[in-house]
Amino acid sequence: MGYKSFEEINEKIRSKKAVVVTAEEIIGIVDEKGVGGAFRDVDVVTCGTFSPMCSSGAFLNFGHSDPPIRMSKIWLNDVPACAGLAAVDAYIGATELSESRGMEYGGAHVIEDLIAGRKVKLRATSYGTDCYPRRELEAWITKDSINEAYMFNPRNCYQNYGAATNSSDRTIYTYMGTLLPKLGNVNYCTAGELSPLICDPFYRTIGLGSRIFLGGAQGYVAWQGTQHNPSQPRAENGVPIGGAACLALIGDLKQMDPRYIRAAVFEKYGVTMFVGVGTAIPLLDEEMVRHVAVRNRDIKTEIFDYSVGRRSKPSLGEVSYEELRSGSVQVGSRTIPTAPLSSLKMAREIAQTLKGWIARGEFELQTPVAALPREGSPQALEDCEGE
């Protein structure tokens, strides 16, 4: 069995000879030419996803005012940002809500406004120190008026995720969208066969340092995502059944495109952010071809009942993405309509854009500097007992 190295593939990318297709297009190529033929003819496969990802945010450094201030409380357009860093550093979390507008506007909107080049009102207070005497500040900022602005998303790009439904008698409002009573709908939220970590189920080509598409710019995988769960049970093809691995991502907010980072409000749940992510998978060997050519019918997930407000929600059974995409699923004797929350149309656009970058020699693949953990599962949090 042959082998192509990252370096050989990058050589082809530099000379603009790399053959790049998306994770959907490779399926037809494998059908036509077989795994061996696809390995011979294709070098890189691109993936994409565009989903609401709550665990997202950005680090900002505002520069120093005169006289200077050691900001100890910070608001951006009335949305509190974390100020527990050095004098003028802050982290704005996507889900933080505005103190004046509530759920209508939040951290994700601040980030979207900054990316779009709009002015944002910075307000800060301090207790004042000898070196930083100032106690209050108001200023207008834009992404170009401040020093650094980089997105750092602690948990993005879930490798598969459970679908959601509601068996109770009332409508419930969740981060999985509006769930109608009495199993009125099933919502699901991944790009399926186009999804980055579904196409590289054992993280052979993606790891710390991998270059990616993040919000329209080139970004990097910084770490495994929080609650990384590679020990989730897997199907025979290696794809986990339900939420498993995830990635912490980093990228330059100043280079991003507002088309690929969109603030979102989920009714009665709160603010979150659609994050556009794309990855490029080098076809190192035939095994990688088999992984990227996975089909929706072979990707399974579970349907969870979100009416149970507990850590573990009851599963109502397993379904494939082919069934979810068909518009309805069968749960027991019931046929329940399905709806996506993750935009496949945008995910396709991202995979196509990244494909273009690589074909034009603008994006080289980065060999991971360290592997993502392949074992382990998240801990639970227990309440205090007694005093």
Binding site: T171, G184, N185, R262, A339, S343, R348
Partner: protein, 166 residues
């Protein structure tokens, strides 16, 4: 007891909408009138046989498009009401007398395609099947003819792409 009901009556309403009734004015050439109304029941009034009275006392043709009724809370009912112009007006006055607020729904839901990210969240709540996903290119499809004007999509859309022009 907290029973919330959803009644979705597929396509029928729009079949009738095409049968010679102007959707804008609700008036027809024959003195018939057709309106789409959103009824808000105060808590406690949910049990009243309102629809039955509208049909029997006022000779109205009623099609319930959408209902959300919680026994302990206010309920919301969207219905198509059709009959002679006089009967429709008398029926609406009857609602007011019964303490039921109503709003005549007209205009339309506006879909801002530039804002839309084609996620599909609105299709999860749309009771009329006016909102569906194209299963080839996975963009949102909006069939205005089927829309009940229930406005559930305006709240379910995470990016504010569905709205009512007021």
């Amino acid at each position: 007891m907290n029973s919330e009901k959803r009644i979705g009556i597929n396509g029928r309403a729009s079949d009738r909408a095409n049968a010679g009734v102007s959707a804008d004015t609700g008036e027809t050439s024959t003195g018939e009138k057709r309106v789409k109304a959103l009824l808000t029941y105060p808590p406690g009034a949910v049990g009243k046989p309102i629809t039955y009275s509208l049909v029997r006392q006022f000779n109205l043709w009623i099609n319930i498009l959408h209902a959300e009724i919680a026994a302990d809370k206010a309920g919301r009912l969207i219905m198509d009401i059709q009959g002679s112009a006089d009967d429709v007006d008398r029926g609406l006055r009857f609602l007011t007398a019964e303490d039921i607020e109503y709003e005549i729904l007209n205009g339309s839901i506006v879909w801002d395609e530039d804002k839309c990210v084609h996620c599909g969240a609105c299709t999860a709540v749309c009771p009329s099947h006016a909102l569906t996903m194209d299963n080839l290119d996975w963009s949102l499809l909006f069939d205005k003819e089927k829309c009940y004007l229930c406005r559930l999509c305006t709240r379910a859309c995470p990016v504010g792409a569905m709205s009512t022009p007021i």
